[in-house]
Amino acid sequence: MDARTTSALLYLDAVSVSFDGFKALNDLSLTVEAGEMRAIIGPNGAGKTTMMDVITGKTRPDKGDVYFDGSHDLTSLDETQIAELGIGRKFQKPTVFEMHTVEDNLRLALKDDRTARATLAWRETAAEQARIGEILGVIRLGPVRRRVAGSLSHGQKQWLEIGMLLAQDPKLLLVDEPVAGLTDVETHQTAELLREIARVKTVVVVEHDMTFVRELGVKVTCLHEGSVLAEGTIDQVSANERVVEVYLGR
């Protein structure tokens, strides 16, 4: 393993991605320190999801560096390896395993040996069972634990996916639009939940919903056309002239 090149947990430097000539990410640089929670805002098409795709190995950048924990070059690893390093992701469109029960979704996400041999011989331990019960409590899905995930409401799926993230016990959580389609109450609860998680984890949250971002009360990065437009507290960022222009000018 190479020597540590940065103290940040997540380090992106001059990352560019283009799709058929269209630059989804344009010289994007961003660092997130260990233990930090960061909110990423930006209009539709700003490149927020693409940034997560790059971090999790779904999309290879055309150029630029992406380092995790200072020493892992994420651009040379695939999705599985990156997940093994401890990066978990919640997708913009909630993706849970619809045919599995709520519990089984968590079971599959639970940190454990992921080789085919280990899963074949697997028996659930009491510790695992307790952990699943605990997570079900946190995401408030205890009463529906035996239901298939496909029958959950949109909000419940969002929460189940957050529960799966918790079960994975990653070092870094990437959370893409967790409150899209949720009611105000649910949005508020989600903010609380994420703040709770952020006490022990490093979290990057992408969100449009400004009330929600305000409620998180963390450092905000505003993306626009694939690069950072502004960074700072929510008040600083929303007072920034260019941000106002981008958000309101269209």
């Binding site: 695939d78 999705e79 599985t80 997940a83 992701r89 395993f97 080789t115 085919a116």
Partner: protein
């Protein structure tokens, strides 16, 4: 959920199903051997052989259901693994003929003498030993599936593209095996078998024994598949089937899982082919025909994919229909019947026979539980 994987595999329907198979495997040979042909309960030997063929088809269907029903890999070339297992067995049977062949050559099968081949090709060595041939029955399909899968799954070939290249695989093998210089008897294939392990392949007791062994192989195959699908590995397979990339982001190495079940499935298909050949008395390149593989997929669809029991049932039902049809006036229309059956099942019964039954039984249970105030709420409340 803390019980051992095998215990978990044996739920009520699995146990019932195994008991039914055991009964069939015991009773059919008994009715054939122990009763005189005059008895109304006597099962004639030709039927034993015919049903034995269905059992082999059922094992093939099971192997397809494991990968298609549970992991979403639609192989349209599984007939190739079946045929390769069949050829390995056929090579053993050919070498047992010895001097009883038309040309009475102690080493070379007739077709080699006929083609003026001076000696036995190296790849025919060892096949006079049953143990070696049995090993090849597993190894040849398994190795081919492993190499094929290694490239296909690593390069993330999925869906229709994968189905197409599996078709191409079996087609290419068919063309190869049709050639005389391939060394497997060309378009005539391997036939005129005399005995297996010293027993006459045509003899009534041998046929009864082959039937019983085929049923035993089917039970073993079913047990293996059940153990897999009831384990956490089975849960991962379903996750791959329904949301492959999500499974990757959770840290599962999808290609390894696929490679494992695909290779295992090919070995099962190989065993099915090996048991099939002594019962039908011939193996030729037409077993590689792409249509055969597609037909096998239809059995699974009819019975209900992702149910295992359905695969076995589908193979039996469709092949029974085929036998009935192709021996009557309607024989020329069998392919139309099969095609319409597939269309009808896809449109009207997308879950297949067993899948549909399970679906309605599940829905009925849920309603009953709801009426009794049980059901989902019965789950223990988590600490909140």
């Amino acid at each position: 959920m803390t019980s051992s994987p095998l215990i978990r595999a044996l739920d009520r329907s699995a146990v019932t199903f195994i008991l039914v198979l055991v009964a069939i495997g015991v009773i059919v040979p008994l009715l054939n051997l122990a009763l005189p042909p005059s008895s109304p309960w006597h099962v004639p030997t030709y039927l034993v052989a015919l049903w034995g063929k269905y059992v082999c088809y059922a094992l093939l269907a099971l192997s397809i259901d494991l990968i298609w029903g549970y992991c979403g890999i639609l192989s349209l070339g599984h007939g190739a693994f079946f045929a390769l297992g069949g050829y390995a067995m056929g090579m053993y049977l050919m070498r047992q003929i010895g001097t009883r062949g038309v040309y009475a050559d102690p080493i070379r099968p007739d077709f080699m003498v006929f083609l003026n081949w001076p000696e036995l090709p190296v790849y025919w060595y060892g096949f006079q030993h049953f143990a070696y041939a049995a090993l090849m029955v597993l190894l040849v399909p398994g190795l081919l599936a492993f190499v094929f899968g290694w490239f296909a799954f690593r390069s993330r070939v999925t869906g229709v593209y994968l189905s197409i290249i599996t078709q191409a695989l079996t087609y290419a093998l068919m063309l190869g095996f049709f050639r005389n210089n391939f060394g497997f008897g060309g378009n005539n294939g391997l036939t005129d078998f005399k005995d297996i392990l010293g027993f006459n392949v045509q003899a009534q007791p041998t046929r009864a024994a082959l039937f019983a062994i085929s049923v035993a192989a089917l039970i073993l195959g079913f047990l293996i598949c059940r153990t897999i699908v009831a384990s956490k590995l089975g849960m991962v397979l379903i996750s791959i089937r329904d949301a492959e990339s999500r499974t990757r982001f959770l840290g599962y190495r999808v290609e390894n899982y696929k490679l494992f079940v695909f290779t295992l499935s090919a070995c099962m298909a190989g065993v099915a082919g090996a048991l099939y050949v002594p019962q039908v008395g011939i193996i030729n390149p037409s077993e590689f025909a792409p249509g055969n593989s597609i037909e096998a997929v239809i059995w699974v669809a009819v019975g209900g994919r992702g149910t295992l029991i359905g695969a076995v049932l589908g193979a039996a039902v469709v092949n029974y229909g085929k036998t009935t049809f192709t021996s009557g006036l309607l024989a020329p229309y069998w392919l139309f019947v099969l095609g319409s059956l597939f269309v009808l099942v896809t449109l009207l019964l997308p879950r297949g026979i067993v899948g549909t039954v399970r679906h309605y039984r599940g829905a009925w249970r849920e309603r009953r539980n709801a009426a009794h105030g049980r059901g989902a709420q019965a789950a223990p409340k988590p600490a909140e």
